[in-house]
Amino acid sequence: MSDIDYKQRGSLLNPLRSLGFFGRPPVTQPLEPRPASINYRGFHLNDWEKCVGCGTCQKVCDNAAISMVHIPDLPADPAKGVRPERPAIDYGRCCWCGLCVDICPTGALALSREYVHTCVDADLSSYFILPDSHGIHGQPYEKGWAKTADADLISLLREPMPELEPEQRIENFDEIVGGYDPQQALLEASRCVQCGMCHDACPTHMHAPQYIRAIWEGKLEEAVGWIYQTNPFAHICGRVCTRRCETACSIGHRGEPIAIRWLKRYAMDAIPHERVKQIAAAGRCETPSGQRVAIVGAGPAGLTCAFDLAKQGHAVTVFEALSQPGGMTRWGIPEYRLPYDRIDRDIDVIQSLGVEIRCNTRIGSDITLEELHQQYDAVLIALGLQMGRGTRIPGSDHPQVRRAVDLLRQATAGEEFGTPQSAVVIGGGNVAMDIARTLARLQRQRFGTAQVTITALEELSHFLADPVEIKEAHEEGITILPARGPREVVVEDGNLVGLATWRVTSIFDEQGRFSPTYDQEDAQIHTAEMVVEAIGQMSDTGLLGDELTERLAWNRGRLQVDSDGRTSEAWLWAAGDMVRGPDVVSAVADGHRVAASIHAALSAAKEQNP
């Protein structure tokens, strides 16, 4: 085909050639709609099995077309990050850009290849759709625009955290995790989609979306303010929290959840301590109430309660049996995970609000609960779980069979407990990992090598311990033997020589009760100088005194409390691990709950007797 010159005048005959089209078939398509292309952006599809109701689609929607609908029939599981909500789409707004599909954290949303919807004015409500896996008219349609790997708008990978290499850390108690630098923190914070699943899952409902947003905006003081609204154990939770938030995180459905814990840690470390104290004191009641509260146990639950009550103007005294406050966070968690100065800081913040902490004061011996009852308007016992449980297998009464909590406490205190050259730890939880890694460090410091074996009933994938802990324990040369049940402690000539184990075939019976069965053919003996039991803890309720124990209501060996932590005695509350189970953040949540209850009771009392 040649170029046409501007000057050519055309012809009247050339157009007549088009008469040839009389002989050609039309290009017209049939009246029925054609199937759309494989990528078509038609009406929405939503896989309700996958959708968790996070509402991220709603946030990215540029047309404000998505409403979240609460559907009571659907399962709700805050711990897993599942909300009984599903997006409903307003086709009077939608522009079918598909951003909702590309950002959907779970990949539940897709656009279908269906594109015909018409209605008369009276049926305009049909423009508001609750998409499910069928099309808008209930007919199954194929997916059109759906999520692909290279189209994801969510960054699935976490910002890597700088950590000490195994060879750098195996001989000392230096903190392993280095913490984010500002750039990393900003990038990590920017991954958050602000769904609030973490908030729902957190026992104390920390305002994680808000403080992550504040970190992303560079407003770190604001972030600390958000943190202190719900958690005075900010430094501690920034390091050793069990982070249920990250389990629930909607990014975690397909990728690595947001490092919420590390972001909290970053925000706390970035603000000077004095400033933190000012921020924490925000909202403090200036006029003292004149009422006094005694708290037994300076652990997370007790001190959180103290923090709250002190802010509300009550005079709070905390009684602690050990030499330093902090409870299990200090005495149970090794320093390489949680440096002691961070604990000190958290406690200093609490003390700066006027909380008095009396250490080395053991209830029962130094002062009795009854006395506290007399002297204070309310008493809270937050004793924690400081006694290790025993396995009660043959030979476990040998002196070289120790309990993990005791050893950890002694290690923290720097007491000599006779570091063995080799040890076997029974248990698959975090405490087992802690003691194993602590022992390994002590062994390396003393003998140059470490020989610690962990045996646990569970398969590795079902360990209660944090996977990160397991990985790090591996890296530090600790042998982990899963699915091995302890049979007996082997003692020869009075000396402990090892632990005999069986392979576990099942842990629970058909009713779901704990009843392990073993494959007796597969027995092993793990030689060791020491056996450490790390299979759980219990509370030492002996200090309550016989009379009080008698008066209080009990439930299966646990102190019975109402939903606010109040015992059957009106003046006595209980909180923390002793009622909830071992977890810092649960203890903090419990502390808040109890504090609110105590405050309400005190206020009521004050109104009655001004």
Partner: protein, 198 residues
């Protein structure tokens, strides 16, 4: 016409040399073929005259207005292009928001008439000497100049208009079970991300 590819080409030096003739300029090469010039408002006509007369800047690509209410200023950016040098010069000036009056450059560049009228409609700036400052786009608009930052369009819309109230069957069913719409999108925008939780 030879394309110029990178700063360092002699075109850039020519231009830099030429621009020394106007006082109070700050020039910066922001990208290949993109020269940013910041200058006081009163020198702009001199600069444009120089560019048009001596460097072939006959094409006024656009005049952009940016509102900086915190500084109390409007920023006017004159994007001019030379078909000879193939370099875009972006001249930035700032004028006070109040009274918001500036000179028209219609005498130099005729396209300015469109842009100046547009800026007048959208920002309320007045250009002295522009041929036609009557309304063009917003003939039916009585409110404040909409592009000014203090005009909150979304709030205005929320006040002025209502939205469809859909009553689909599925919603009635869900509401009968105790559910319902838990979060409307308009709510979300009201929060401005302050409260990401349900």
């Amino acid at each position: 016409m030879t394309p110029t590819d990178a700063p360092g080409h002699d075109v850039t030096t020519t231009l830099d040399f030429l621009l020394q003739e106007v006082d109070g300029l700050r020039t910066r090469w922001v990208a290949p073929r993109r020269l940013r010039v910041d200058l006081p408002a009163e020198t702009l006509p001199a600069l444009l005259e120089l560019l048009k007369g001596r460097a072939g800047y006959v094409h006024l690509s656009a005049i952009s207005c940016v509102d900086w209410p915190d500084d109390g200023q409007f920023e006017l950016v004159y994007h001019t292009w030379s078909y000879e040098l193939n370099v875009l010069v972006m001249a930035h000036i700032r004028i006070p928001r109040d009274p918001g009056v500036y000179l028209s450059i219609y005498d130099l560049y005729r396209p300015a008439a469109f842009f100046e009228r547009d800026i007048h409609e959208m920002f309320g700036l007045w250009f002295e000497g522009s041929p036609d400052m009557g309304k063009f786009i917003l003939t039916e608009w009585e409110g404040p100049p909409p592009m000014r930052k203090e005009f909150d369009g979304e709030a205005w819309v929320m006040e002025q208009f209502g939205w469809q109230e859909y009553r689909p069957e599925w919603l009635t069913e869900i509401e009968a079970k105790g559910g319902g719409i838990s979060k409307r999108p308009e709510q979300l925008r009201g929060d401005k991300g302050e409260d990401g939780t349900a």
